[in-house]
Symmetry: C2
């Protein structure tokens, strides 16, 4: 069995460190993030990602997947901590915390790490502000077999607890990159790739558009949509019909409707 | 100009009443809910729904739509309150509150109020727990021209601040009903209507399914999906393909992907 360290007090420096990872400023400095739940941690392990620190509630029920995870973390030289549920609740900020959480090193989010040939679909979000939407886009990306999510300009932090939670593990299975618009366009034009904007203005119906792989589906900010100048640089602008009073969809919903259309059409 | 009452203190009973509407227990008792922002309130007015109480920040900028709203509320015998931004922030629970909010009477959510002939698409959610997902489904419903959203069993409160906010005004344009499963099935079978389950098990691809209007698209709980016995009572079970490691989509995303497919196919 792997060696464990038991944490007894709320004021323990390790507890303070773990709690600080819920705060963006500290995450940025440490370049580490927190993910909760056996399922997420198992998804991570199956994607060959192990936590540097594994945190377990002392009152947890035994589970074979947790035992395997513990062994894997120990074998990789990681740290294993045990603490009471009420201390773990302080760490994760949830009243009924999951029995296990992990501290992971942030991924390298440079565009150069993206190999566009690995998937016919890539999701791209510009100035996406809501971490729940961001996590949901990762989850949708996984579902459509996308390669990953590229974040343009100032987006919500993909390593926040909310985004990681909403991704339902897809943070570990999808590639993640972050870039300014100019940098992204330069990278994109170095190889094959069709850039498709979810437009609120263009008359092209999203069901009639000629999608081509690798297809980069771009969704804009929750309240502003995409800047005109960005849309103009896209290869295709498509519109999802709006039959009601509203003029737009939730950004993650718009991304999903486009992604499933592209998936179906590219599979024909 | 409409008569106004100015509220000066945090401890004013009206402020306490307004704040209490953020709490489900109080909302239930009062059968009233809070909606924020000029845009939402304008959506409401254009749907012939006026707030019983209109709350405005004393530091607001003048706006023609706000002036019209004020007149309409006064003409309907409603109350108009003015308060400092910091008091309004306490009411809405947001640091930078919108300059205007309204207190509305909850709608009648009995199934009997639904006229299924008014739309080819209806969204149905079972045991939906997340108010953001619920509001997003209302918003999507508006976008596809659905008639409304029917909530089955124990769902999140559609009148919570989070759900109202996520609906982006669709809480006022979509019909809303709430019922137990048995009650819903009995009502449904009294007239025409195809009940379509978003299934995680059935092999029928959602793009191949024979949708028929009025089409009731049913999505299940965020973590459990639909109970088997419910799926069995549906006319059609359809599956959205999952190409990755995850076995499900976000519930609001699944509803939207189905709704847009049904919209396109029923419009053919």
């Amino acid at each position: 069995m792997a060696p464990r360290r038991t944490i007894n007090g709320f004021s323990n420096p390790t507890v303070k460190f773990l709690r600080s990872l819920r705060d963006k400023k500290h995450r940025r400095r440490e370049r580490k993030f927190l993910a909760e739940g056996l399922r997420l941690l198992t998804d991570a392990r199956e994607s060959d990602v192990l936590p540097e620190i594994l945190v377990m509630s002392s009152g947890r029920a035994p589970h074979p997947l947790l035992a395997e995870l513990e062994d894997a973390v120990a074998a990789a030289g990681g740290e294993i901590l045990e603490m009471d549920e009420d201390i773990l609740a302080k760490v994760t900020g949830k009243e009924n915390p999951q029995a296990v959480a992990g501290v992971f090193a942030e991924f390298d989010t440079r565009l150069a790490r993206i190999d566009r040939s690995t998937s016919p679909i890539w999701l791209v979000a510009q100035a996406l502000r809501d971490p729940g939407n961001l996590g949901t886009m990762l989850r949708t990306g996984d579902a459509v077999g996308a390669g990953g999510l590229i974040l343009i300009d100032d987006c919500a932090d993909p390593f926040s607890v909310e985004a990681v939670r909403a991704s339902m593990g897809a943070i570990f299975t999808q590639r993640l990159a972050s870039a300014r618009w100019e940098e992204f366009i330069e990278w994109l034009r170095e190889g094959p790739g069709q850039l498709v904007a979810a437009s609120l203005r263009d008359p092209t119906d999203y069901r009639m558009a000629p999608y081509q792989a690798p297809c980069f589906l771009l969704v804009g900010n929750e309240s502003q949509g995409l800047p005109d100048t960005y849309e103009a640089q896209c290869d295709l602008r498509v519109t999802i019909p709006m039959r009601g009073r509203a003029d737009s969809l939730n950004a993650a919903v718009a991304g999903a409707v486009l992604a499933y259309e592209a998936l179906a059409r590219l599979s024909d």
